[in-house]
Symmetry: C2
Subunit: 268 residues, 2 copies
DNA sequence: GCAAATTTGTTCGTATGTATT
DNA sequence: CAATACATACGAACAAATTTG
């Protein structure tokens, strides 16, 4: 009963959206209209609309109006190994294959490569001393031309010293680094471990993914450490961090015996 | 240069927080102080502080002040099967074991049980017709007395008809439903598939997890479909949805050969 | 191409309510 | 009860982006 006016207005608008009275893409009443409809000040209706924006239910554009948000078609990334190969869908060619299965057109920027000294976090994951030289390869990845994910992979410089010089080249490695390291050095990934975190985007990430009100849409960070077999147990040799905006990505993990394929979602 | 005043103020405060000048738990200057410090109106400094709240950097409490947010100690849930058993850490006794390994004290509410007719979503996952009778068991789960996750599992009513009557009882099933179904009906889970989504909390979820400004902190929803072996391939027999607040939970997934244990994080 | 109208964004000022100390 | 601090609400003016005539 004692709810603040802006909450009441927000709740009312929310019900009109969720009931389907206002459809995605529809324009909400203007602030002037809402002001007279609810007998409230403009700042008050703006507070109400702002809370709907925080929920991602509406978006407003200066000079145009406020509109019911369109739901983004989620893209599903598989984090567990597929039955046919030992890979999974976050990285390289395999990510591309999964994207095409979902009828999306994947693309990626030319990799940017830098060499630096391992920070504490990277060193811990790679099992090397802090300050060890590492190669970092970065890529922006797109789906249907829209920003999809940011990927950063760190390898010990050691791998290049041993002959994997292509790691240092700022260009795609045909067939993927996975196959390249196996064929060049016999370094084969026999397992990996993912750590999934959800957090607010950095400014860079918000800019790349075009996340307007900074902080509203979270990002999912997937840090994958890849292991090779050394004869004395698995040892890490690369760590990849892939960052996805949470509002348009989902993740799938299979374990044990499950049906082979997922039924394709109904499309209009 | 042309940045709005509230953004400039927010950026300045943000830098003072991230540089360590203001430590977690410290009180920010009051709105009155900020107003005179930046020569801005109170509404303007409030806008600035609000954006820091959206980022989760500060929390404000009426009558007290605004404080730099304390980082929550993340809890790590393992989504992949462990080496010793065929389970993984989201559910039942296994979740409890994982919590204790991380030196947390887990607890859970007595299950609430209801029977209902499967909605479209549940029916699709269970591979039964829409409207089929299902048993739904719900639990609130806590870590060190703090709300941790909400778990809802749906089973076909068929399982109770075949003798698994405990599914209908609003009480814990000793040893877990996993073992119960195996021992009672020979229904053993041979695999499962997870779908992980990140979304704003519902009102119920925001209330349970005590997420203040509704919509700021996302929740991670993990929907796990469990499969049994029917001789004609795996068939689904249960679907569990576990919901975690994103600001205090992380997830780990292993695949292939990886080192057995994770080094315990350094503690102060 | 330009000017006017429309709509949201920013900023100011003020007053009162509510929770905490 | 009083003081403090954030929450809610009203009103007003101008800026910036977009659409319309």
């Amino acid at each position: 009963m004692a709810s603040p006016m802006h909450q009441v207005i927000a709740q009312d608008l929310r019900e009109r959206i969720e009931s389907g009275e206002l459809l995605p893409g529809d324009q909400l009443p203007t602030e002037l209209e809402l002001r007279s409809r609810y007998g409230a000040a403009r700042n008050t209706v703006r507070d109400a609309v702002r809370s709907l924006m925080t929920l991602g239910l509406v978006v407003s554009r200066q000079g145009q109006g406020t509109f019911v948000a369109r739901r983004l078609e989620p893209f599903v990334t598989t984090l567990s190994p597929g039955p046919e190969n030992g890979l999974s869908g976050t990285e390289g060619d395999d990510a591309f294959a999964e994207a095409r299965r979902q009828h999306r057109r994947p693309s990626a920027s030319v990799p940017r490569v830098e060499t630096l000294l391992a920070t504490r976090g990277i060193a811990d994951e790679l099992g090397v001393p802090e300050g060890t030289a590492v190669i970092v390869r970065r890529q922006e990845r797109y789906l249907d031309g829209q920003p999809w994910s940011l990927q950063t992979t760190a390898y010990p410089m050691e791998l290049a010293m041993q002959g994997a010089m292509s790691l240092l080249m700022a260009q795609d490695i045909p067939g993927g680094t996975f196959a390249y390291l196996r064929d060049t050095l016999g370094v084969a990934e026999v397992g990996h471990r993912d750590l999934i975190q959800v957090r607010p985007p950095t400014d860079d990430e918000a800019r790349f993914f075009d996340l307007a009100d900074n902080g509203r849409v979270a990002v999912v960070s997937c840090m994958r450490t890849g292991y090779q077999d050394t004869g004395e147990g698995p040892a890490p040799f690369r760590v990849t961090c892939t960052v996805f905006p949470a509002d348009r990505n989902e993740f799938r993990i299979s374990s044990g015996q499950v049906p082979p394929a997922q039924p394709a979602p109904a499309e209009g």
